[in-house]
Subunit: 422 residues, 2 copies
């Protein structure tokens, strides 16, 4: 059997109706470099979605590679309870300098970081003497797929089947236009009626990635956070996808004028190399858990690989690159170039809702003869050497930051050819 | 500030009442090799608990290091939806040859693997036309700390605080002696009354690690699995801690005469290097999800780093070592040596409930003048250069398999000295 056959014999792929692979290619990748993935026939693909939004400095980045190799010589992993290591101490210090937070609590994947934030907020109120057990989140949100994380999400595709297993949570509508008066009114009315039971308001700031790359107004974000806090709800920003430069600033929080309680980070934190996630919070929250052992106020949550040294080394290398190469400033130029290129596709009248934020661009296929138009684009893009993976009929471009202007132009030109023939 | 001060300033450690570090050391580790961890004063510690039960072939193992370095040259990570890579295909094929399963579904940490198994079992019944939404698990069990995984656990320390956020699940008593008649009766009565709503029976076979290293009879395991299946419940083995040789065989399932539906693996799968987890299941289950896209029967669960290539390379290297060095056979000799050594501590009449299974040994401190006797042992063991991390008053020894007889003897002799002075 060849690799593809072996794959389909033994692997059940994530987020996939496996019967699709009766007609859809399943592509084993042999090697990768920069923005390019290479299959076993030496065909190359530009990774236009950063391999699920994780890769920012290219595949097999030499600097990150070297730092992981160095770390392998010293320490691959040690238990993080009672013990520690230099890469995680450095990383925590750096994150607390980049962000208005004081303490880092680590986990492995994004979902687990969300679970940490939910449990921590619940227990914060409990340690503070008040029993609240509901979470408030935005419509169209996605926060991961473990049951707790799934409970505060709203994308039916991932959630509907599992409803009977989920926590009941409260959803408030995300704005869908520049006028968010109505959405703020609904939020206020929910808070007025439910503030006694709401632990926290959790949201993806400015950009709901899995929710078809929906972008919403900063004005709403600022007002909504202010409102939630005025009603005693803590605020959690899920920046798992938006963090580390994706929205144009280092974090979407950098755009926000309000102070929040928790931020969840993962994905690009290791440059796209290894699973690592972290929840940052403030000392005033930490202190509500800091008591005698007997008080039973400790936050008890752990994963075996929490704070993995190799992943922390990759994360420190990633932060090094941001600093040394002035990435955020450079991305502003690149982002403007992408926007201009992207908007040239407005020539097709069946494409609409063009949107850009930092290093994310999207539009929707609004009319098509194809039942699964996004899938049609996926297949045709593969033929042109592009890994694009639409969300339904939303086509988005979320490349590693190392992509250059020629490559960007090639991606847009390829899309133009695809749509000319659509 | 020194590293320890920086650590305590920026890091909130897992599974820790942070105020304990007012008197308890927090030890940054500089490097590690084999069973030894070295701090920044060059003091060494034998890692008697395999850094939370993950490390099996020693820290900074040269063979695993080389395989990760090789992988870094080719591919660090690629999205696993629609794409794949050789290390994960090989790994999946090898796991399906080692175990009586057909398909591998990957995730990052143990908790996430449990969430996958719960969601998959729930949806299996749904796709099969029956609505069941409860899970059955053993008393004293631990399956992780995301909300779904925590719901099927029973260790109060981790669970009690978060009860209002958890799924209601059903618990059946784990046997506590060689006679398990009563436990089987209770199980049967639960199944009789609740079989219409029970998706699956989830259990840690033979050994409940976080449940104070409680060991129970194989006879119960076989009968309980048989009973559950006869009432239409699927069976999930959580071998996150027990897998990869820990119980003496490659998997605890190897001892079991019954067939099961899902096995969850993590921890030692990468030799203790990187977070990776997998749920294995059978084609007859996979086929219940295999349908047209429109049927909405697909299993939609994903984590960005699912099937990470570096972690899979570490996992393949780990399986190589098992094969090439005939580890399971060698461990049987080592395990017998540990048992003899361990039982020499029976000389202390305040120690009891001595138990061994494969590469796990434990006893309980049954009387002590210390309020937190386990913590007292932890501190004194550190002084003697041992990382032992008791579970309450249970002292256990769960070393990397590369530990040698001299090192084992040193651990036991150190414990003897500690207890002489207790």
């Amino acid at each position: 059997m060849n690799l593809k056959e072996l794959d389909l014999k033994y692997i059940w792929h994530p987020c996939t109706q496996m019967s699709d692979h009766e007609f859809l290619p399943l592509i084993p990748i042999k090697k990768a470099k920069g923005v390019y993935l290479y299959d076993f026939d030496e065909k190359s693909y530009i990774d236009c979605i950063s391999s699920w939004w994780v890769n920012i400095f290219g595949h097999c980045n030499e600097y990150i590679n070297e730092k992981i190799k160095d770390q392998l010589q010293n320490l691959e992993h040690v238990i993080l309870a009672g013990f520690s290591h230099e890469p995680i101490i450095k990383l925590s210090q750096r994150l607390c300098k980049l962000l208005p937070f004081d303490k880092c609590f680590f986990a492995d994947n994004g979902s687990s970081a969300i679970e940490v934030a939910l449990k921590m907020s619940f227990q914060y109120h409990l340690n503070n003497g008040s029993k609240k057990d509901k979470f408030l989140s935005l419509s169209n949100s996605y926060h991961g797929e473990t049951l707790g994380a799934l409970s505060v999400g709203d994308v039916a595709l991932y959630k509907k089947t599992y409803e009977p297993l989920l926590l009941k949570s409260i959803t408030t509508p995300v704005p869908t236009s520049k006028d968010y008066t109505k959405e703020l009114e609904i939020l206020e009315s929910i808070l007025k009626n439910h503030h006694h039971e709401i632990c926290a308001f959790i949201l993806e700031p400015l950009l709901q990635c899995a929710g078809n790359m929906h972008m919403y107004e900063l004005g709403y974000l600022n007002e909504a956070v202010k409102l939630a806090k005025s009603y005693g709800a803590q605020v959690v920003f899920d920046e798992i996808a938006t963090g580390f430069g994706r929205t144009g600033e280092m974090f979407a929080l950098d755009y926000c004028s309000q102070s929040i309680d928790y931020i969840c980070l993962s994905k690009a934190i290791t440059g796209g190399y290894l699973p690592l996630s972290v929840v940052l919070t403030k000392d005033e929250i930490y202190e509500k858990f800091y008591d005698s052992y007997e008080s039973q106020k400790a936050f008890l949550h752990s994963h075996s690989y929490t704070g993995n040294a190799l992943a922390c080394a990759a994360a420190n290398a990633t932060l090094d690159i941001f600093e040394k190469e002035n990435i955020i400033a450079k991305n502003k130029i690149k982002s403007a170039f992408i926007k201009t290129q992207w908007e040239s596709l407005k020539e097709f009248d069946f494409l609409g809702n063009f949107r850009n934020l930092g290093m994310v661009s999207a539009f929707d296929i609004q009319k098509s003869k194809y039942q699964r138009a996004g899938l049609e684009v996926f297949q045709r893009a593969l033929e042109k050497g592009l890994l694009l993976r639409p969300l339904g009929n939303t086509i988005y471009f979320m490349p590693p930051y190392v992509i250059n202007e020629d490559e960007i132009a090639y991606v847009v030109e390829s899309l133009r050819e695809i749509f000319k023939d659509f």
